[in-house]
Amino acid sequence: MANVLPMRTPAETALIERFKAEQSSLPGAVEARAEAFARFEKSGLPSRRVEAYHYTDLRNLMREAAPAITARPEPRAPEKHHLLIENGVYLGGDAPEGILVLPLAEALREGRVALGAAMGAASDIVVDLNTALCRDGIYVRVDTVVEAPLFIGFAETLGNAASVMPRVVVEVAAGAALTLVELHAGPDGIAYQKNAVVELILGDGAKVEHIRINEGGDKALMLSTLAVKLGAEAELMSLGLVSGGEVSRHQVFVTYAGENAKIDLRGATMIKGRQHADNTLVVDHAVPNGVSRELFRNVIDDEAQGVFQGRIIVRPHAQKTDGQMASNAVLLSDGAGMANKPELEIFADDVVCAHGATSGALDENQLFYLMARGLPRSEAEALLVEAFLGETLDAVSNDGLREVLAERISRWLEARAR
């Protein structure tokens, strides 16, 4: 029971052995890695008995740990403004002017970055695993306002199951601005395991737009984390578009370190077949006058299962906090399921916090209206779904990017209609 540690799964044993074997060759200070590893060793992979993983039982979903990759991928010519991480290794790239880019291994060796600086008071085993075992990734520093979007491609080109743990640390200095786009893609049919962590540290008044597209392979276990630390008056919009992975879990941890900061977190999830997609947020209002908005839309078809867990924490004295969270799900088939857990944890008395969660099928009246005007049912459904998900894209200020995202939604719907 609670005080007895369950037996180690093969995955846990493999990960423990992997750390012990690789420990000495990992770049950067060993202390932070050892601490993170100790936490993992103590608790193991989180099962459904761990509250934060109740709906995504990692212990069960990850019985075996895929082996690490040792072969270095072939370098490729970078596209404009693209940085490429292939199979967890940074291959170089081209960045817009005003952005400093270093391989993470180098930044760690030079002591430029400390892993986990953006996590605040949050603690998470998946992040700990990445902290303990990540070998490579990118360090990005932005000191001015950069207009052109920076793309980071996370590509897997694996021939068989393997585990990749890339890490990206982005520092945006006071008053600077950046648009960052993450693209995650990988081969279908291969059960690779990915645990990517992106840390975003925003200085006072910094502005960031962050877009994440998950188009991972259809057998992949995609774990990803965005950890954010906000300086005073910093602003972040982060949108995650999820359609890939057999199992995916995207976690966002936000810590307000300065007053009057604002975040707008959004998600558009489209899943089908037997996919499982989890969006988990922890927004920690540690200081007064923070504003947070969360809007998550899920479209779930076939036997797929969606999960939304959102937690807004308002610490004592974090007065005048304004937090509003909404999670809406449309279930397109009888077998589809959705679990919503919008949580509020409030310790200050002068705040405005609200959450809403809905789930259900498409509105029959709306469908009828469209069909009465001559649309076949599938088109009417597509139109309603497109409008439902489309709302999450409104916050993307770059027209080109918004179109790219809208097109991906349309493509998913077209594939469904076929």
Partner: protein
């Protein structure tokens, strides 16, 4: 927006140091020796002169309980409970099942008079309109002292008695239904209760009968270092209706007392059960000393088609509240309701809410929960709404709001909403800013200014919960009605 002044003042009048029911009744009690083991379970069973099957049932529960670990997932923090440092049975000495009120210890009668609970039928008859009569089962520590109006209820076929009596008089009913909603294996506290439950109420409403009066049980913990473990079982047979009220108080003591009750409700086809609670256990003093630890498992089973179970609760007492009155919506077209106001003050910790488990087709549920936290208290709403794959057409609406008074307290909302089929429609919201524009417009058009209009609508909304309480309890809850939820958060 901070809480409005009237709300703050009203909450202050029911602050922990204002507790009115904290007196101790000086009465000689018979106590079981301290501690918990199989002999104590046998002792309790023997005291009640129970049949073998019930003793076996208790022992099985006890053996399972020994393998269980106390749950720690709630947002309540308290020092470890020493389950061996408690008396599991306490009974007033002079009343071994009195035949009439005249045999009841006058000290006990005075206690109930002081609490405002009428035990003498004629007093009730003289004072109040006949339709407002209430039958009372008074439970004092571990035993039921008296049950009123039994004869009159029997005329309608209604069985209302203590559960110990029911075991003797109606063993077939008890055996058929006991533990079918909350099995002995359910959870740590329910299993403990199954092993050592001492008394509680039993209600059976026969098919097609509308219970002629409100039924009620009044629980009083008096003896120190005791735990109260009552068990209530209510069965509403096809097409029947019953409204049941529960009240509870305890004296002020510096130590914590344990209360782990189990309530099982069973509604068969077309039956309706309305269960209301005003929970006013001693909450501890303003320093956080003493108070009742309240770990209660309450569950209703809408077993029949179109059956209905409605829980209404006003929670102001207890140092710790751990309580989730639930509805299992098994019958097709059945419905469940949960209305709750939880007010915490001092060092109270409340982790309460509900579960609506939709299993049958076209089942509906509604949850309205209001939490008000003041002082250094923590008030958590934890609720689960789930729809099974086969529960097509399930519908839920949830609204929960919380309000904080002061900056030392906390209010939390933890909903779990699980839809496993597409025709289930679930809505959860938690906000007060969401007053309908048209309602506001309507009020303002009739000459109210915006603030008045908001107050009218918000207060009307709170009243919606309180109106679910039967008349008899409305008086006790009256002062709560004045509480405005202006400034509340989700």
């Amino acid at each position: 927006m901070p809480a409005v002044k009237e709300t703050v003042e009203t909450v202050k009048t029911i602050d922990v140091d204002q507790y009115k029911y904290g007196f101790v009744t000086d009465i000689e009690s018979e106590l079981a020796p301290k501690g918990l083991n199989e002999d104590i379970v046998r002792y309790i069973s023997a005291k009640k002169d129970e049949p073998q099957w019930l003793l076996d049932w208790r022992l099985e529960a006890f053996r399972r309980w020994q393998t269980m670990v106390e749950p720690t997932w709630s947002r309540c923090h308290y020092p470890a409970i020493d389950f061996q440092d408690l008396h599991y049975y306490a009974a007033p000495k002079k009343t071994p099942g009195p035949k009439s009120l005249d045999e009841v210890d006058p000290e006990l009668l005075r206690t109930y008079a002081k609490l405002g609970i009428p035990l003498r039928e004629q007093e009730v008859l003289a004072g109040v309109e006949p339709q407002n009569r209430v039958a009372v089962d008074a439970v004092f520590d571990s035993v039921s002292v008296v049950t009123t109006f039994k004869a009159e209820l029997a005329k309608a076929g209604v069985i209302f008695c203590s559960i110990s009596e029911a075991v003797k008089e109606h063993p077939e009913l008890v055996r058929k239904y006991l533990g079918t909603v909350v099995p002995t294996t359910d959870n740590f506290y329910a299993t403990l209760n199954s092993a050592v439950f001492s008394d509680g109420s039993f209600v059976y409403i026969p098919p097609g009968v509308k219970c002629p009066m409100e039924l009620s049980t009044y629980f009083r913990i008096n003896e120190s270092k005791t735990g109260q473990f009552e068990r209530t079982l209510i069965i509403a047979d096809a097409g029947s209706y019953v409204s049941y009220l529960e009240g509870c108080t305890a004296p002020k003591r510096d130590e914590n007392q344990l209360h782990a009750a189990v309530v099982e409700l069973i509604a068969l086809d077309d039956a309706e059960i309305k269960y209301s609670t005003v929970q006013n256990w001693y909450p501890g003093d303003s320093e956080g000393r003493g108070g009742i630890y309240n770990f209660v498992t309450k569950r209703g089973d809408c077993r029949g088609a179109r059956s209905k179970i409605s829980w209404t609760q006003v929670e102001t007492g207890s140092a710790i509240t751990w309580k989730y009155p639930s509805c299992i919506l098994r019958g097709d077209g059945s419905s469940g309701e949960f209305y709750s106001i939880a007010i915490s003050n001092g060092y109270q910790q409340v982790d309460s809410g509900t579960k609506m488990i939709h299993l049958g087709k076209n089942t509906t549920s509604k949850i309205l929960a209001k939490g008000i936290a003041a002082g250094r208290s923590d008030n958590t709403y934890r609720g689960q709404v789930s729809a099974h794959r086969k529960a097509t057409g399930a519908r839920n609406f949830t609204n929960c709001d919380s309000l904080l008074i002061g900056d030392q307290c906390g209010a939390h909302t933890i909903p779990y909403i699980e839809a496993k089929n597409s025709s289930a429609v679930f809505e959860h919201e938690a906000t007060t800013s969401k007053i309908a524009e048209d309602q506001l417009f309507y009020c303002m058009q009739r000459g109210l200014d915006e603030e008045e209009a908001v107050a009218l609508i918000v207060n009307g909304f709170v009243k919606e919960v309180l109106q679910q309480l039967p008349m008899e309890f409305a008086v006790e809850a009256q002062k709560l009605i004045a509480i405005s939820l202006e400034g509340s958060v989700g």
